[in-house]
């Protein structure tokens, strides 16, 4: 069996969760008996590559200079390269199975091209967020009111984007869904996301949940809790308007000073500089007094390889996102590190963390409820160990690859 894995980025250049998941699937499949050849094709924006060209990165790994020209219909920027370079590549590689880990930055036409060029190949598309459903950065949050969105419809989408007509949204959905018809099977990393796509139009019996694989390492033991040390809560991830860092800081500000004295919130925050000045100003004002009184420590960005070390130093991991999330990598990473998670009670977060079992829920977008949750873990430090004991170790890359192989075997009959 010949396998092709397509990713919207190569981990050499892009370290997003989906890119890493794709690459690790590739690495795991390479080793499998029965896999004659595994090829990794990653979209690249290296300016040294001509537009549309596909070039070897290293043995079995290729870079494709490609981009999106129209983010509304998710159309390719170099459409002709789909029918030329990509088609030639497919004909040379002749994969029996194609795993597409994203078409973002590539163009949704790539899906139909695989089907056209390789009519017998099995095509499996892994969905990572709601981009195909929602034009608002794939967040399923209302653009104007910032409220949570429960269901796509062309009329409602047009309310979010008053300059874009309902007809335009119909055309968008039509274009994307017709391309999705080329896909044999869809993989969702969470049941929540799966349901959203079923509501939107993917047949129920052609989409399954496979959790992303995780690196495996020895868990650092939990530190002994005593009254002399502050309880450490860590936020890990990007600071965007959807990630809820401002909400977390609001909640800490609400705590009584006597509680704050016993708490240390660490913000391991990436991508802060790219945010709006309004968000930066909000966060700056919220964090200043907390840094002064020692209850917040602004740690800053981290390399992927550092995450296990950093997580091992906290007692709790917090995911305060105000959007649904899909299957946040940070939750899996916390569980690999053996740390319980506090998260909002919606979407993929609520699915991955069971309230009172391996973590705690707070009411999404509610700083008061988050403050009460923080108060609860400070006043009840033993809760950490109690919930940590219930954490189930996430799948390894190898286990994840096994599940994918079983899916392929099922599809190939």
């Amino acid at each position: 069996m010949r396998v092709l894995i397509i990713s919207h980025g190569h981990p050499d250049f892009n370290v997003g969760g989906a890119e890493i998941a794709a690459y690790n699937l590739f690495c795991a499949l390479k080793q499998r008996p029965g896999v004659e050849q595994a090829i990794f094709l990653a979209r690249s924006e290296l300016s040294s590559l001509p537009y549309g060209s596909i070039t070897m990165r290293r043995g079995g790994e290729y870079l494709w200079r490609q981009d999106i020209g129209d983010w509304f219909r998710l159309r390719s920027a170099t459409f002709e390269a789909i029918c030329e370079n990509f088609r030639e590549f497919l004909l040379l590689i002749k994969p029996d199975v194609v795993f597409v880990h994203h078409f973002a930055h590539i163009g949704i036409e790539s899906l139909r091209e695989i089907r056209r060029t390789l009519p017998k190949a099995k095509i499996i598309l892994t969905l990572h967020e709601y981009m195909s459903i929602c034009h608002n950065k794939g967040q399923m949050i209302k653009a104007v009111t910032n409220r949570l969105c429960y269901r796509e419809s062309a009329d409602d989408c047009s309310l979010c984007f008053p300059d874009i007509s309902m007809e335009q949204f119909w055309l968008r959905r039509h274009y994307i869904q017709r391309h999705f018809e080329s896909i044999d099977y869809f993989v969702s990393p969470s049941e929540f996301l799966r349901q959203r796509y079923i509501d939107w139009g993917i047949p129920e019996d052609s989409i399954t949940v496979i959790e992303n694989g995780q690196p495996q390492f020895d868990q650092a033991p939990l530190t002994r809790i005593d009254g002399s040390k502050r309880l450490r809560v860590g936020f890990f991830g990007q600071v965007t308007e959807f990630k809820g860092v401002d909400l977390l800081l609001q909640a800490v500000n609400m705590l009584a000073p006597s509680l704050r004295n016993r708490l240390l919130v660490e913000i391991h925050a990436a991508n802060m500089d790219n945010q709006t000045s309004q968000l930066k100003e909000t966060i700056f004002n919220l964090r200043a007094p907390l840094i002064a009184d020692g209850s917040v420590r602004w740690v800053g960005a981290y390399e992927r390889s550092e995450i296990s070390r950093r997580m091992s130093k906290v007692d709790w991991v917090i995911v305060p996102s105000i959007w649904w999330e899909n299957s946040p990598m940070v939750i899996q990473e916390a569980f690999v590190a053996g740390r319980p998670v506090i998260c909002a009670n919606i979407g993929g977060m609520a699915e991955k963390v069971t309230d009172g079992v391996n973590g705690l829920h707070f009411e999404a977008r509610n700083p008061v409820d988050l403050a009460e949750t923080l108060q609860r873990i400070v006043e009840n430090p033993a809760l950490r160990d109690e919930l940590a004991a219930n954490i189930r170790r996430p799948f390894s890359y190898a286990e994840c690859a096994d599940i994918h192989m079983r899916l392929v075997a099922h599809l190939r009959g």
Partner: protein, 609 residues
């Protein structure tokens, strides 16, 4: 009433004719005198004076003169002194203009209560030249208004009068006016728009230096609240309906002046003037300007007939002529389809991204890839290069062969379709809008079957749906629209949940051109779509009616699923919008051509649903 004999006895040329009061000895009660008669061209002007309140009439050899005549009067206080007139007895000078004077001897008679009181023979006429006429008018400037009104249909007279007229004095509350816009396409005509009103018996005229003049009462008028508010304290109800728009003749040139003149029986004044400006020959640009001019609902037909209509129709014809000179360029993408069963013509205007969605559907319809000749007509130079740039990859990606006819200009919906049809090679022609997206295969097959099943069928349309699957089109019905006085095209059931589809085609009065199938032979027999509607509206029903006239029927296929991304009908939108005015314009044209025929069709047998 009176005879030649009595005239000979009483009248004496050159002498005043007087009548004295019965009660007061020696007091003059009535009198007439003729000062002189001048002839310029074929017009006679008699001047003189009259005492008392006798009504003046002109008597010719055969009795009272049956000719166009105009009297004008002004006060003569000097006569009151000279004749020692009693208080209450009036003395006035007069002129009388006799049009088409034939040289006969004339007498002026004064009547009181149908009784001839005084009578005077007219002096022998003197023929004068233009300079002498000017002098005469200057000498009678207090009756220039009568002369102007009498002669406003004569360019020669108007041109001669105009420089002699004084500017209106604002302190005299006679009239106010302003021309807000005046535009012309030389050779085609133009429009002037503004507001004007005059008090009392004054009349307003639109005039050019060349002598063209029209009464403003013939213009389209409407209510201007701002003018009423500003002037009604001084001018009362004469400020109502101050707004006007009037047609200008095609003979005018750019930079000619348009002048507004106010005339009563005494004076004529120049009120205001404005230089003509240019407007493009492009019909749409002209329509955008002229349709934005206000009009009252009832005025529209009049507006159409006398103002926009003639100019627009000339502009559209002119544009069609020019477009014929622009050669279309035909480009093939993929192999030539031999012996196609159907040729599809899809005009592209403004945007072309619909192609992406259409191709997705066409590519998966095996009937399409085998039997269809697909022709896109680019009717918009702004998008031509982008379309042509996309096309090679569209063919490579979708594998559906097609042609692109680049029309090189914007011809409009009808003309673009007609152009595309010229390139069709199949026996069947489908006109398809770019925003119609079929979402189930087999639709075209069904339509062709419906056309071939019965040779009586002239046109096959299709049920179309909105994106949310509600009904967009299931056949067209004509509905009388009283405010416009026209039939308009209605889509019965539009916006509703579609009824269960009939398995067989259903008969309709007409169907939309958004998706319309017919034989090439029929298309040619009725000369295709009419190209003289503005923008794209009504030409589909026009085509349907032409085909009906051939004795053919029109059917609609219901068991298909095509989405039409058209917005809600604009007829329901505010009546002021441009689109609504375009519809109204086209509906009036449609009505002129088809109104009486439609009236015979609108019966229960053909009403939809």
């Amino acid at each position: 009433m009176h005879s030649q004999a009595s005239f000979e006895e009483i009248a004496t040329v050159g002498e005043p004719s007087l009548a004295y009061s019965a009660e007061k000895q020696g007091a003059v009660e009535h009198g007439i005198h003729c000062d002189g008669c001048v002839v310029y061209g074929s017009e006679l002007i008699i001047s003189g004076w009259v005492i008392g309140d006798a009504e003046l009439r002109v008597i010719g050899p055969d009795g009272e003169l049956q000719r166009r005549m105009f009297f004008g009067f002004s006060e003569r206080p000097d006569l009151r002194v000279g004749y020692k007139l009693e208080p209450g007895v009036r003395a006035k000078s007069f002129i009388c203009i006799v049009r088409d004077y034939l040289g006969e001897k004339l007498t002026i008679a004064g009547y009181v209560e149908s009784r001839t009181v005084v009578l005077t023979a007219c002096a022998a006429f003197v023929i004068i030249d233009a300079a002498e006429l000017s002098d005469f008018i200057v000498g009678h400037i207090d009756k220039s208004g009568t002369i102007f009104r009498a002669m406003c249909d004569s360019p020669e007279w108007v041109a001669l009068l105009l420089p002699l007229l004084p500017l209106a004095n604002e302190s005299e509350k006679i009239a106010r006016a302003n021309m807000e816009d005046a535009r012309i396409i030389p050779g085609f005509g133009g429009l002037v728009v503004g507001w004007a009103f005059a008090s009392g018996r004054s009349e307003l005229f639109i005039v050019t230096k060349q002598g063209w003049a029209r009464r403003l009462s013939q213009a389209c008028r409407w209510h201007r609240p701002d003018i009423v508010e500003a002037f009604s304290n001084d001018f009362g109800n004469s400020t109502l309906n101050a707004g006007f728009v009037a047609a200008l003749p095609s003979t005018l040139q750019l930079a000619d002046d348009i002048i507004l003149v106010c005339a009563n029986e005494n004076f004529a004044y120049r009120l205001t003037s404005r230089k003509l400006e240019a407007i493009t020959e492009d019909p749409l640009t002209f329509a955008k300007w002229s349709f934005a001019l206000p009009t009252s609902i009832n005025n529209f037909a009049e507006h159409y007939a006398s103002l926009d209509g003639p100019i627009l129709s000339r502009l559209i014809k002119g544009q069609s002529q020019r477009n014929l000179q622009i050669p279309p360029i035909d480009t093939f993408f993929g192999p030539v389809v031999t012996n196609p069963k159907c040729s599809i013509v899809v005009p592209l205007y403004g945007r072309y991204d619909f192609m992406f969605n259409q191709f997705l559907e066409f590519a998966d319809d095996s009937f399409f890839t085998q039997f269809v000749e697909l022709i896109y007509v680019v009717d918009d130079p702004r998008i031509a290069d982008n379309v042509l740039r996309e096309c090679p990859a569209l063919y490579e990606y979708y594998g559906v062969p097609f042609r692109v006819i680049n029309g090189g200009t914007n011809r409009g919906y009808s003309s673009a379709n007609n152009l595309g049809v010229r390139f069709c090679t199949a026996e069947n022609i489908l006109l398809l809008n770019s925003d119609v997206i079929p979402i189930e295969s087999g639709w075209l097959d069904k339509m062709i079957t419906a056309l071939d099943a019965n040779e009586n069928v002239g046109i096959v349309g299709a049920r179309l749906r909105y994106p949310n699957q509600s009904l967009q089109h299931d056949g067209i019905a004509f509905q009388w629209h009283a405010p416009w006085g026209t039939y308009i095209n209605k889509h019965p059931g539009m916006g509703m949940e579609p009824t269960a589809p009939s398995k067989t085609p259903v008969e309709r009065v007409a169907v939309t051109g958004a998706c319309m199938l017919l034989k090439r032979a029929i298309y040619d027999a009725v000369a295709g779509l009419d190209e003289e509607y503005l923008i794209g509206d009504f030409e589909d029903t026009d085509l349907c009616l032409k085909v009906r006239k051939l004795g053919k029927s029109i059917v609609c296929v219901q068991d298909v699923n095509l989405v039409h991304l058209e917005r809600q009908s604009f007829v329901e939108q505010g009546s002021g919008s441009f689109r609504s005015r375009v519809t109204q314009y086209n509906s009036v044209r449609h009505q002129e051509r088809w109104g009486s025929y439609i009236a015979t069709l609108v019966g229960p047998a053909l009403e939809n649903n």
